[in-house]
């Protein structure tokens, strides 16, 4: 998360929201507890979006169940290290005034990521194998 100015209230709010979310995700399973809001797209259309299952995946990660986390949303699990680095960089900027070393991502790779997200989002909605195994948690019911 790179906001191009030092902004203490925003930073503290982000920390607070993040910490609360992590504690809640560790305590409650989004698969069963009705504590977490459902995905807007899923709620309105019934389709899975590329992010569906990411909260359940985070819950499983916080309990060190990597296989289950991957089954709920592999994209979220893969992107977590990058998001964590982005968060660490933002934190470093707020505290020390400078971001962590950043490498320039060629546009080609961002377009590839964009295509991957779209294809993943479409594939997990297709009603036949192997695509429907990408639906949140589907692999766990094999």
């Amino acid at each position: 998360m790179t906001l191009p100015s030092q902004n203490r209230p925003c930073f503290l709010l982000a920390i607070l929201v993040g910490a609360t979310a992590l504690v809640a995700l560790r305590l409650f399973d989004p698969a069963t507890a009705g504590v977490f809001p459902p995905c807007p797209l899923r709620e309105l259309t019934g389709w899975y979006c590329p992010g569906c299952g990411s909260l359940r995946a985070l819950h499983q990660l916080l309990h060190a169940n990597f296989r289950a986390a991957f089954a709920f949303n592999p994209l979220a699990v893969i992107s977590l290290p990058f998001l964590a680095y982005g968060g660490a960089s933002y934190t470093s900027f707020q505290i020390r005034g400078r971001y962590l070393p950043k490498c320039f991502v060629p546009a080609f790779w961002i377009w590839t990521l964009f295509a991957a997200i779209l294809i993943f989002g479409i594939a997990r909605n297709l009603p036949m194998r192997p695509f429907n195994l990408l639906a949140p948690g589907a692999v766990l019911h094999l």
Partner: protein, 118 residues
Amino acid sequence: MFCPQCGANNADNASQCTQCGRMLQASAQPGIQPAVNVPNYLVFAILATVLCCLPAGIPAIIYAAQVNGRLQSGDVAGAQLASKNAKMWCWISVGVGLLFGVVWALLVAVRIMSHHTT
């Protein structure tokens, strides 16, 4: 000129960035790094798309790709325009997410209330 560290717009003769304090004159000389760094909000966009289930993150990713593509072809002004759009879509996705969260919380509250009264 734009600060290579935080992207803030500074006066062309400024020696130090007004926002993050980075020395500007030394880095303004042609060197190893690309001369300017325009924020593309890619991390924010991925966060919105993958972790928050918000379709508004999709345009943010498209604009993030445009920022870097235009930087690669030397179109700094175009990159800054795309950067602005990327930022806007990030905030739209945050707004939509918050709005949906509030509406959902209200619905749950109403459901609980009606359970208690009936």
